[in-house]
Symmetry: C2
Subunit: 268 residues, 2 copies
């Protein structure tokens, strides 16, 4: 079974690396920028590269994975042309399957959404990454589930509504927390402190978050209702209005949860 990859960004890169490592043949890599496709093809020696969206002209694949930004997907679907008898899946957490179904009549379609944050500079272990599958046919389901299992131990069937809720939860759990660590690091650097000083604290916070419900082990001045400390922090952040706004909105949100779930008890 041969796979075609449309896109050459972070998701496409890790898909290609993961599939090749799992012994799959990536037969074609497509990017609007030939140089990006060429660069990615370093990881897939057998792949032809192309910037044409007419896949009838390139070496065939059985499954095409669309690993492109959500905003470019509708335009791509207008231009693309697939051979008959293939399965086409997008990798988006939010785009509906129906978008593919309506744009690609006569093609079996699906969603192949890996729940992970991908950066080109860091390899990932595909095995624990949940891959969420939704399809327009049983044959596509079987095929995409089998493809997913080559990469991951956690292949999950999930409808679009649930997948979109998972995706927004993932933004809170990953994108937003990463941003807050960036803010913390920026504050440390401005105080001329080594950035790794916070590592034991972050590791402990992560460990707790998977042992106990996070709301139940919430700590800190907001949870304690410690207005003296909060006022001192607000004072310290006067010169960083952007961070001050984050501080205030997050403090308020912690307090709202604490008030609505008083049974969770007090933490320091």
């Amino acid at each position: 079974m041969k796979v075609g990859i449309v896109g050459a960004g972070n998701v496409a890169t890790h898909l290609v690396k993961g599939l090749v490592k799992a012994g799959m043949e990536v037969s074609v890599i497509n990017s609007r920028t030939i140089a990006s496709a060429q660069s990615l093809a370093q990881h897939a020696p057998a792949a032809a590269i192309t910037d044409s969206l007419n896949f009838k002209l390139s070496p065939p694949a059985d499954i095409y994975l669309l690993a492109v930004p959500d905003r470019t997907l509708p335009q791509l679907l207008q231009e693309v042309n697939f051979p008959e008898g293939v399965i086409v899946a997008h990798t988006s957490g939010t785009q509906p399957l129906e978008l593919l179904m309506s744009s690609l009549p006569g093609v079996e379609t699906g969603v192949f959404y890996p729940l992970q944050t991908f950066s080109k500079e860091k390899d990932v272990d595909w095995k624990p990454i949940p891959i969420c599958i939704e399809t327009s046919s049983q044959h596509a389901e079987l095929t995409l589930v089998n493809l997913g299992r080559l990469l991951s131990n956690q292949v999950v069937l999930m409808n679009g509504e649930t997948r979109r809720k998972l995706h927004v939860a993932a933004v809170f759990a990953c994108n937003f927390t990463n941003h807050l660590w960036g803010v913390a690091q920026d504050l440390l650097q401005k105080a001329e402190l080594p950035v790794n000083l916070l590592e034991p604290l972050v590791q402990e916070t992560v460990q707790k978050a998977f042992q106990f419900p996070p709301f139940s082990v919430q700590t800190g001045p907001a949870k304690r209702g410690d207005s003296i400390t909060i006022d001192a922090h607000v004072q310290l952040l006067q010169s960083e209005p952007q961070y001050l706004q984050l501080y205030q909105v997050l403090t308020k949100s912690i307090q709202t949860v604490a008030e609505s779930e008083p049974f969770l008890g007090k933490q320091a």
Copy 2:
């Protein structure tokens, strides 16, 4: 050298456990609630328990650590009475050393601030936890540094201004991220999804945050300027106005950083 502990909350609990494990004698445990002091004294067989703040009446200690909420510290300092020749340190990230110096004339004072989140239900490894020390005398410095080294491999001298900046950074890195994981878990539960589905994503996010500057590996729709996905998320969160506000403020903050640091490049 004997240590007295004032307080019986999370910080006091882990101090007592850590000190006893390191072979120190905790000679007295004080709490306004005798039952709390009794409960904590289970971990320190040699400790006397008291609810009196006149420590001239209880078994002596060489060092007293004040592990009480910031808001109760000023009142406690008005009432407390220490024997002569002792060292008294608070454990706060924000309270100035000068508060102890002015309230306790003739006593050697210090700060003994462990940079960690403590919950009673979870043991911690003290070894990697930074302990930030500030003192009013060289003798107190030597004594508190030695005490700190019994617990931790990372004892750091730090003035009050720097400690307060570290503390606010810690709130971003720990309290706020934990809250966001709570939000993510709540969203998963409402979607009837297993809460451990996000664990590989969170673990990867943490790993990246300590390998690369977090702002440089920021991913997600806000960083990509993906307004289609952002609009879909805003739509999904209409029924959760509190989470929607967090979403919007954090999204804006990520975009502000991305605009001011365009050289950091694009991530998926």
